[in-house]
Amino acid sequence: MVIFGANGDLTKRKLMPALYRLAYEGRLAPGFAVIGISRTVMTDDDFRARMHDSVPKFLEDSPFDADLWRSFAQGLFYLPGDVGDPVLYQQIVKSLEEVGKEHETAGNVLFYLSTQPSQYAEIAEGLGKAGLAKGAGWRRIIIEKPFGHDLTSARDLNTRIQAHFEEEQIYRIDHYLGKETVQNIMAFRFGNGIFEPLWNRRYIDHVQITAAESIGVEGRGAYYQEAGALRDMIQNHLLQVMATISMEPSATFSSDAVRDERAKLLRSVRILKPEEVAENAVAGQYGPGRVGGQQVVGFRQEQGVNPESTTNTYAAATFLVDNWRWAGVPFYIRTGKYLPKRVTEIAIHFRSAPLSVFQSADGPGETVPNLLILRIQPEEGISLKFVSKRPGAGMTLRPVSMDFNYGASFGERSPSAYETLLLDAIIGDATLYTRQDMVEASWCAVQPIMDYWGAQKFDFPNYAAGTWGPAAADAMLARRGHVWRTP
C-alpha cells in the first residue's frame, strides 16, 4: 500500500490505526507493507517511530500489542518527495520492486491519496506516466473526499484520473458508507420482510437526516472556510446516506448492483430551480455563544478565518425524489458545527393513524405519528417510537420507545469505517465506495444551492454556538407543516 500524505492527520488518526487493527485480527496478508510518501524528510525508522506514537493513541476500543507492532512496523517504509516531481514516481517504482521482492506482494499495489485534493489529478497522472497504474498484480487507487469542489471540477478530475486508471481501479472513499450502522440500513431494509412494504410515500410522511457536531472548526478554520457544511457533509456523506435509505433493493449484493441502485436514486433527486432554492435550503454560520458553560467565539473570530467569511458552518436542505416510491416525500437534511450535541441520526416519520378513536373528556385525542430512528452515532442502534396504553383506569396513551442497541445486542467490537473500507479495497470489493456517476449525481443535486448561495449576501452569523441552527431552518420545515425533531 502506498500512502500519499503519510505525514498527515488522516494517516496518523485513521489509516495506520485501521491497518494495525486489521493486522491484529490477522486480516492482512503476511507480506503486507506500507510505503509512506510525503514532503517531510525522514527515514523509515523515523516514520515507524511517528506511527508508533500515534497508533496506540488513536486505536478505537483495541489493545496495543507491542510484539505485534514490532512485526507490523517491519513492513513500514518511507519515501520523501514532492508529488509534482517525476523523479518521485521513479523512486516509487524502485521501492515497490524492492519491497515487493522482500515481502512477496505479487505486484499488488493499493495507492491511497490522502493529500490536498488539488494534488489528486497530478498524483494519478504521475503514477500513470511512470507505468504504475498497471503491473504484474492488481493496481487500485483510493481517493479521499472531496472529489472535486463542484460539478465541473469533479468531472474534470475524473477525466484526468480515468486517463490512467480504469473505473474498476478507482475507489472513491466516503467513510460514512463504511460505518457499521450505515451498512446495517441495508440489512434492516432488505433482510427483514416487515419494513419494506411500509417504505414508501403511502406510509412515510417525511424523513429527517441530522449530522450534528458539538464542536467548532477546531483549528481547521482555514480549510473549512473553503469547504463549508454543504460541500463538506451534504454533497457526499449525507446524500449517500439518503440514497441508502431510499434506494430500491438491488437484485444481488454485488458491488455494481448495489451501486447501480444508489446511483439511480441520486439521479432521481429533483434538481432545484434557482427560484426554489431560497425556500428549500438554509445556510447558517455560528456566532459567539456558550457551549458546555464556556464562552466560545464565532466562526469569523476563529484562527485563520476571514473576519467577513460567508462560509456556511450549517446547512439544511429539502430534497425531493422524483420516483414512484418517494414522490412528494420531503427528505430534510441538516448538518452543522457547534450544535448542542454530537449526533448522526435518520428519523423516518410515518404518517399518523387516519383517525383517533381514543377520545378524551376534553375533545378528540391526538394521533401521534410513529417514528423510526436509525442512530449512526453515538450509541449506534435503532429505535421505534409508538404509543401504548398507560396502565390503570381509562384509555390514556403514552409514547414509548422500543430500542435496539448495537453494542448491547452483539457485545462485540464494531470495526471502524476505515478498517472496513481498507479491507474491502484490498479484496477488491467496491460496494461501499462511490462511483463517478454517483459523485456527479450528488454534485448535480447541490450545485444549484451552491450557485444560489454564491450570489447571496448573508447576514451572518445567524445562529449562536450551542443552539440548533438558524430560525430559517425551522421555517423551512414549517412551510410543509413539519418541525425538526430534537435528537
Binding site: S214, R290, V291, G292, G293, Q294, Q295, P340, K341, R342, S360, A361, D362, L371, I373, P378, E379, S383, K385, R390, G392, T396, R398, P399, V400, S401, G407, A408, G411, G466, R485, T486, P487
Partner: protein, 323 residues
C-alpha cells in the same frame, strides 16, 4: 479565571461507558451473565429533570426519586443548586432493582449536576442535550432558588411538563403557576394532587345531589393551597352551590396541618372529616370511614408523572382562583 466547563457529549460518553461496565460486571466485579436469564435492562420511559436546593437531604431526595423509578423508569437528571462559588460538575450513576422472582436487574440512569445558581443559564444548555429523545421530559421544581432566578424561562423550555408544589416554602404561587399555563406549559401542582382521594370521595358523595352551600373548614388562620384548590374545584363543578372557606374551624379531636382542609360540610346534613388519617363521612343517619392513601411525595409525583397531557380539571380550578 475561566468559567468551569461541562460538556454534554462528555457526560453522555461517561454514561455510555458506565452502562458497558454495569452490564459487564456486578458490584463485586464478577461477570454479569448475558441473555434472557441475566444481565440488566436499561429502562427509560421519560426524562425526569429535578431541580433541588443543595441543602435538601440527598438521601431523602434519592429515596423519593428511586421509588418513582419502578412505575416511571426514567433518565433522571438531578440538578442541585447552591449559592456561592462558580461551580459546575456532573457525575453519573444508576438506580437498579431486581423484580421479585426474576434474575434480570432493571436499571435507570442518573446524572447528578451540581451548579451554583449563577450558572443556571449554562445548566439549561447542558441539560437539554442530555434528555432522552422522543420521550416526555418532565421538570420537577423543588428548588426555591430557581423559582425567581433570571434564567427560569430557559429552564422551563426544557420540559414538556412542569411539576411544582405550591405548599412548599418558597414555591411558586397561584399567579406564577397560572403564568406557566398561560405560556403553554403543561403544569402540575402537588398541592392539587394531594386532593385526588378527597375529590374522588366527594365526587361519589355529591353525584346525585345539588347542594346549596358547601363550607370547607381548614386549620389555622390562612387557607393553604389545598383548601383553595378544593374550593375552586367544587365551585367550578357545582356552579349553583355557594362554596366558602372557613378558618380555625377545627374540631377539638382533629389534627390537620395549617391551612389544609379538615372538614367539608355540605348543606347542614353532611360533614366529611379529613383530619383523622382517613376520611369520616357523617350524614347524621349514617357514619362511615374511608381510608385515604398517604400523601407521600413519591405517590404524588408518581400520579403527576402519569399525566403528561394537560389536566383540564386542574387548569379550570386554577383559572377560577386566579380570575
Amino acid at each position: 479565571m475561566p468559567a468551569v466547563a461541562l460538556k454534554p457529549d462528555e457526560i453522555l460518553k461517561k454514561l455510555g461507558a458506565y452502562w458497558v461496565n454495569l452490564g459487564a460486571h456486578d458490584e463485586a466485579g464478577a461477570d454479569v451473565p448475558r441473555g434472557e436469564d441475566g444481565g440488566l435492562l436499561r429502562a427509560c420511559s421519560m426524562t425526569l429533570i429535578c431541580f433541588a436546593d443543595d441543602e435538601e437531604d440527598p438521601d431523602a431526595l434519592g429515596h423519593t426519586l428511586a421509588s418513582l423509578m419502578r412505575e416511571h423508569p426514567s433518565r433522571m437528571i438531578v440538578i442541585r443548586l447552591r449559592d456561592g462559588e462558580d461551580e459546575l460538575a456532573a457525575r453519573v450513576s444508576s438506580k437498579c432493582w431486581m423484580p421479585f422472582g426474576h434474575r434480570r436487574q432493571i436499571c435507570c440512569e442518573q446524572v447528578e449536576v451540581t451548579a451554583s445558581i449563577n450558572r443556571l443559564a449554562d445548566v439549561a444548555s447542558i441539560v437539554a442535550p442530555l434528555a432522552a429523545a422522543d420521550l416526555p421530559r418532565v421538570i420537577v421544581l423543588r428548588s426555591a432558588r430557581i423559582v425567581r432566578a433570571g434564567a427560569l424561562r430557559k429552564i422551563l423550555a426544557l420540559g414538556d411538563k412542569i411539576i411544582v408544589d405550591s405548599s412548599r416554602p418558597g414555591a411558586p404561587g397561584f399567579g406564577e403557576i397560572g403564568g406557566l399555563l398561560d405560556a403553554g406549559h403543561t403544569t402540575g401542582d402537588l398541592a392539587w394532587t394531594r386532593l385526588t382521594p378527597i375529590r374522588a370521595l366527594l365526587a361519589q358523595l355529591l353525584e346525585n345531589r345539588r347542594p346549596a352551600a358547601i363550607v370547607i373548614e381548614y386549620a389555622g388562620k390562612e387557607a393553604g393551597p389545598e383548601s383553595r384548590y378544593l374550593q375552586a374545584w367544587l365551585q367550578t363543578a357545582l356552579p349553583d352551590a355557594f362554596v366558602s372557606l372557613r378558618g380555625n374551624g377545627l374540631p377539638p379531636d382533629c389534627e390537620a396541618s395549617d391551612g389544609k382542609p379538615a372538614v367539608v360540610r355540605v348543606d347542614k346534613d353532611i360533614a366529611v372529616r379529613l383530619c383523622t388519617g382517613g376520611a369520616e363521612y357523617d350524614s347524621g343517619v349514617m357514619r362511615q370511614r374511608a381510608s385515604m392513601p398517604e400523601g407521600t411525595e413519591e405517590r404524588l409525583l408518581g400520579e403527576e408523572l402519569g399525566i403528561v397531557v394537560h389536566d383540564r380539571v386542574f387548569e379550570r380550578a386554577l383559572n377560577h382562583i386566579t380570575a
